[in-house]
Symmetry: C2
Subunit: 112 residues, 2 copies
Amino acid sequence: MSVLPLPERASLPDGRVGELADLFRLLGDTTRLKIVLSCLSGPTSVNDIAGQIDASPSLVSHHLRLLRGARIVRSERRGRQIFYSPRDAHIECVIADMVSHVNEPTELDEEV
Amino acid sequence: MSVLPLPERASLPDGRVGELADLFRLLGDTTRLKIVLSCLSGPTSVNDIAGQIDASPSLVSHHLRLLRGARIVRSERRGRQIFYSPRDAHIECVIADMVSHVNEPTELDEEV
DNA sequence: CGTAGATTTCAATAGCTGTTCATATATAGG
DNA sequence: CCTATATATGAACAGCTATTGAAATCTACG
């Protein structure tokens, strides 16, 4: 497969489809997505995230490691706690676009 | 959790986090992502998609059903074959943004 | 140093899901 | 009507992964 080009912007270097899928997959889990949403408003500590989404710090930490590995979030230590925030603008943009898609009203013709 | 607001654009109606995650999850599978990428260039038949990504028509059809159910792609019959294309601009936009993220050079300080 | 707070790691389990193969449905043409 | 092509469906299996609870680091601070 060497399809594309994408309608605009940068094209996909062949063989990197896996990387791209990984990113989507990470955002595709409810818990992880909530974590990312939690720190959209600014740097948030692990415990605060856990509190906001009602999950154990252990679980949150697990997911944060994956998210950080994929450069979806960045970490920053302040005193004895660690604050997480979205890695870059693209992530926020991707989420905003997808929210727009969810909010898009269903056309009358097409259905399940 | 009722965090947010998202930096710009529409906000997420509470309780719809699941819907949002579903969309990302669907794009998070390599095969499915390839399918979507295949029909980015225009309406493509099931068999052509299967050929482009080297997968069985059965498998492609299975995934297309999920993608259509989530309104990620639309279908259109022409003769005896069915052509698929991305459902709306948001999808293409989301993918383009994520590609930008992949292409973003790694900062020197932060690492695995 | 020793305690407490904050985060991370480890191991084990349960549930989900992508894939396959066989079968079914549908459309067009002779 | 019968065949071939195109797509869809169903069931079953294997592999992955989210979750949990306990234990381990690590940092700040008295």
